[in-house]
């Protein structure tokens, strides 16, 4: 018998989906600024990328506020407990419809692998992409900030590395979103907020 629990609050869902759109859009425009293809034109791509960046910044201001006021930030505390079980599940169990080794609850909604993945995003990709992006955006102020020694080439290089990591995360993330007990279960939960969990 499945039980329905309310996992994702309204703001959280809004945050997730608007962030998803922004990140997809920023990958699209960002790789154009990098010169990989030509869709919007360099000028438009740059401007759109910048607008999206500022939108994301504002979104994050709210998200950070929300995470701290609600205490939800604790969801991202990493744990190694059951990681091996999770790995084993994705490598074998998932194929034979074995039971999921992790039970979602409202206080613990991310499985241990998820927590590690998000830690990677939060601790590696985001700092890299945000700081390099910030510097990129304020190229004209380096001198005033005491960062005159920085080189745009390296800032851009790490920004692009982070972008690639984001792209890879994005692919894996979308796939794993289908790895619930049904293909669409996680996606539905992210839309409605309600997840069905097995007893």
């Amino acid at each position: 018998m499945a039980e329905r629990i309310y996992i994702f609050k309204r703001f959280e869902r809004f945050w997730h989906w608007s962030q998803a759109l922004l990140i997809i859009f920023m990958m699209l425009t960002g790789f154009e600024v990098h010169g990989v293809y030509n869709i919007f034109g360099f000028k438009a791509a740059t401007e759109l990328h910048t607008i999206a960046a500022w939108t994301l910044v504002s979104l994050w201001v709210f998200a950070i506020f929300w995470h701290f006021t609600t205490g939800e930030w604790k969801q991202y505390i990493p744990t190694l407990e059951k990681v091996d079980a999770m790995l084993k599940f994705y490598l074998t169990g998932i194929f034979t419809d074995a039971p999921h080794p992790f039970k979602q609850t409202t206080v613990s909604k991310h499985n241990p692998l998820q927590r590690l993945a998000y830690l990677f995003v939060l601790a590696i990709i985001n700092p890299l992409i945000w700081t390099t992006g910030w510097f990129y955006l304020f190229y004209g102020s380096w001198e005033n900030w005491g960062f005159g020694w920085l080189s745009l080439e390296w800032v851009a290089f790490f920004h692009v590395i982070a972008a690639f990591m984001m792209l890879i995360f994005f692919i894996a993330h979308i796939y794993l979103a289908t790895a619930g007990h049904t293909v669409t279960a996680h996606i539905k939960a992210m839309i409605t907020g309600w997840e069905e969990v097995e007893d």
Binding site: G35, F42, L152, F164, I168
Partner: protein, 554 residues
């Protein structure tokens, strides 16, 4: 690498039809009548004479000193300096007068009479011809008196009639007698009406400065590329400041002068100006003829604010002058002296014209190429120019740089500048490995353009200049750079972002600068996309196994 092609392609019929619909817009443009210049009393220069007179507090035609039939130019000057007592003394101190200049930074001895270029190459032994563009009268040899006040030519700069012309061969004088001009053309120029010209003197104009500066290198548009007679009455598209129907700047609006000393220099250009606007009354000793001197350090705002973050590496001109020689005049791009002397079937000197009517071969001078609407070549430039002088040893196996623009990405004082690079092949002293002075025009016995004997011409030129000559003439390839700074396009016609921010864009090959969008990290990109692709394959395989296992399991 992913490469998407995105073009605004149209289906054939739409395309054809739209061409048909656009057609009437361009109909007849080939024979569109020349637009009338500014209304009112207009002289040949396109300057409203009446208006200028109205503004001046002196009507020179009312001065008794000028109501005289002058016999020659110096006579006019004597009249001028009888009131403007210090004028000639001021001019005696200028480069315009001395053609002699010492660069205080490099200690190089420069100036027109000293340098050798890759156009007509050198002045000594050719004074009568070259000094048609000297602001004096009678400089025909080394013995010219540089202290003579009456020898300063006031009219060439202050004429407003357009009837005053100094002709090559007359050592800086206009013609005082009827004279065939151009030579062998069958056309005759009446004697210059000095009285009329003298009575109409006024401020300098694009036309007076242009009389020499548009014709550098011996003809309209030849030398600079960004200066030619199309700037006499330019439209807005050609130069947004000089636009005759708009801002209508004269040269002196930027090239301000103090005691006849004019701001701006090609020997010591200001490649970087980050000192902000030059305010009236400022005691700063700096070039007033820079963009920044008026526009300041932070000239872009609103949606163009990002452009301010380009000025640490890029000169204003690089974006704001998308191409030079845009005024439909052909500028000379190369000059190969080594082919001179070919005669036609009758054994006469000849000129061969190219498709657009410019002379592409001249028995006196060799082969030329021309171009217009030319995209500049870009170089790092910090304002320091080093010349290959008459006594500089050259390496004839390499292209000799007549002048090298110094600067680099890491010297902290350079900007990327647009330049015209003029390429030539010219005579040099094979024994001594130096450039040479060549007798071209004046001396009847040796002048190249009369005798077509390069050895005799160089021998005489070198002797005249007091230089050692081995007796052997060779041909060496040369390059000369000219900064492009005029013909500033309207803002909607600036170089667009994608023209540099693309693979093989305009600044491709410029060292030491990272330009986003130029595909400069191919290895990283390849690696990144491979890993992303493998991830995709990985999850797809994982998904496929799930699907089939699930199906089999029921």
């Amino acid at each position: 690498m992913l490469k998407f092609k995105y073009k605004g392609s149209l289906l054939a019929l739409t395309f054809v039809l739209s061409i048909g619909m656009i057609w009437p817009v361009h109909a007849n443009d080939a024979k569109a009548p020349e637009k009338a210049v500014v209304s009112g009393a207009v002289d040949v220069f396109g300057i409203a004479v009446d208006e200028q007179k109205k503004k001046s507090t002196a009507d020179h035609s009312k001065f008794k000193e000028l109501q005289v039939d002058f016999k020659d130019g110096p006579a006019v000057t004597k009249a001028c300096i009888s009131c403007h007592t210090e004028a000639s003394k001021q001019l005696h101190k200028t480069k315009h007068w001395n053609w002699d200049y010492i660069n205080a930074d490099t200690k190089q001895h420069l100036g027109k009479k000293n340098v050798i270029n890759n156009f007509c190459t050198s002045v000594p032994s050719n004074y009568k011809f070259c000094t048609a563009c000297h602001i004096g009268y009678g400089w025909e040899d080394e013995n010219f008196d540089f202290t003579a006040e009456e020898k300063v030519d006031c009219l060439v700069c202050h004429d407003t009639t357009g009837n005053y012309k100094k002709l090559p061969g007359l050592a800086g004088h206009p013609n005082y007698k009827t004279m065939e001009w151009p030579p062998h053309s069958g056309k005759f120029r009446a004697p210059t009406d000095l009285k009329q010209v003298a009575q109409a003197v006024g401020k300098t104009s694009r036309a007076t400065c242009g009389a020499c500066h548009f014709r550098g290198g011996g003809g309209d548009a030849v030398k600079h590329g960004d200066l030619d007679s199309s700037l006499t009455t330019p439209d807005r598209y050609l130069d947004v400041h000089m636009d005759a129907k708009g801002l209508d700047f004269s040269c002196s609006k930027c090239h301000t002068s103090d005691s006849h000393e004019v701001a701006g220099s090609r020997y010591q250009p200001t490649a970087v100006d980050d000192k902000g606007t030059l305010i009236r009354g400022s005691k700063e000793e700096r070039n007033a003829a820079t963009c920044v001197a008026c526009h300041g350090n932070v000239p872009h705002f609103g949606e163009f604010a990002k452009m301010n973050e380009h000025t640490d590496k890029i000169a204003c001109q690089t974006c704001h002058i998308p191409a030079y020689a845009r005024g439909n005049k052909q500028t000379k791009m190369s000059w190969d002296w080594s082919t001179l002397g070919k005669m036609d079937d009758q054994g006469h000197a000849m000129k061969i014209k190219g498709s657009d009517g410019s002379v592409i071969y001249d028995s006196k001078k060799g082969d030329f190429t021309f171009d217009h609407y030319v995209v500049p070549e870009y170089q790092w430039f910090n304002g320091e120019v080093e010349f290959t002088l008459a006594d500089t040893k050259i390496d004839p196996t390499k292209v000799v740089k007549i002048n090298s623009f110094k600067g680099s990405y890491d010297d902290g004082k350079s900007r990327i500048w647009p330049t015209k690079v003029f390429r030539g092949k010219q005579m040099f002293d094979k024994g001594n490995n130096t450039l040479v002075v060549t007798s071209l025009s004046d001396d009847p016995e040796t002048a190249l353009w009369k005798n077509f004997d390069i050895n005799k011409a160089v021998e005489y030129g070198m002797k005249y200049a007091g230089r050692d000559f081995s007796g052997e003439v060779g041909w060496v390839e040369t390059e000369m750079s000219w900064p492009i700074t005029h013909m500033v396009a309207p803002k909607e016609d600036v170089v667009e972002c994608h023209q540099c921010h693309t693979e093989n864009g305009r600044l491709a090959g410029i060292e030491g600068i990272y330009i986003p969008g130029t595909n400069t990290t191919p290895l990283l990109d390849k690696l990144g996309f491979i890993v992303a692709f493998l991830t995709l394959i990985g999850v797809l395989i994982h998904g496929a196994i799930r699907y089939f296992m699930h199906k089999r399991g029921g």
